[in-house]
Amino acid sequence: MKIMLVDDSKTMRNIQKSVLTQLGHTELAEACDGQDALSKVAAFAPDLILLDWNMPNMDGLTFIKTFRQADKSTPVIMVTTESERARVVEAIKAGVNNYVVKPFTPDILSQRITETMDKAAA
């Protein structure tokens, strides 16, 4: 499975890469903000995107709104510190499929990925 990691923090991308590699996912691409992700997503054609919210240049909410105009189906999990209910609802309405609040454990990230991919395959 090809997974794109979109986060302005290299540290967080590395943590996510480490978790995903342990889960057996090795086809990974990285983007440092929404703009960077938009420029790479078509060529990489991910099966899943992990998306941060607060990023410079283009935040995650703007990315998902733009991305969903062209791609309605690729699953996207928002991975963010934004934990308020209103934010979660806003992200889901914008087209996010699932949500992980930072800080997270490897088990939570793994569980959300499995849930999301199972739902997408159903």
Binding site: K10, T11, N54, T80, T81, K102
Partner: protein, 166 residues
């Protein structure tokens, strides 16, 4: 400053460090900070806007920061490496984000973090807003959170009430 804005930071820093670093944080008694001199040499700074405005600083002595960053990233990183600042920035991002999620009935946005490294630097915050320092201790060394925020929603409501009764 209302304790309702202090407790969330205590809970958040303990949650972030326990979850991401498996590191317990002992939180000390909050106190009012005097002056703009940074408490320690490494400052991760994040701004808040919306119903609550101001800044939050996660401040570390260099040796504590080096140990904590090594635990967080899984590798030893020198302070002049950009990855060091990135890691400190992500920590303050999670602490501030976790705290604001615990503010009752307030809609708050946080900025992207900035990190300043160097002895004797200053972090100037808003005038007339008291800055609260929460000392913290861990097995990797000490650190603190400096909170300099004000509740704009309450202030605006009080101003509107005063204007109405004038």
């Amino acid at each position: 400053m209302d304790a309702a804005y202090i407790t969330p930071f205590m809970q958040s820093i303990q949650n972030v460090f326990a979850t991401m670093l498996q590191l317990q944080v002992q939180v000390g008694e909050p106190k009012v900070k005097s002056g703009h001199q940074a408490t320690f040499d490494v400052s991760g700074i994040i701004g808040m806007s919306g119903d609550v405005v101001g800044s939050v600083v996660l401040s570390f002595p260099t040796d504590s920061a080096e140990r904590i960053v090594a635990l967080f990233t899984g590798e030893s990183i020198s302070t002049d490496n950009a990855d060091f600042a990135d890691a400190v920035g992500e920590l303050v991002n999670m602490v501030a984000g976790g705290a604001k999620g615990r503010f009752e009935g307030r809609k708050v946005s946080i900025s992207c973090p900035n990190v300043v490294i160097g002895s004797d630097h200053t972090v100037t915050s808003q005038k007339a807003v008291p800055c609260i320092v929460i000392p913290c201790d861990t097995d990797c060394g000490e650190m603190c959170i400096e909170i300099c925020i004000q509740d704009r929603k309450t202030q605006n409501a009080q101003a509107a009430e005063a204007s109405a009764t004038a």
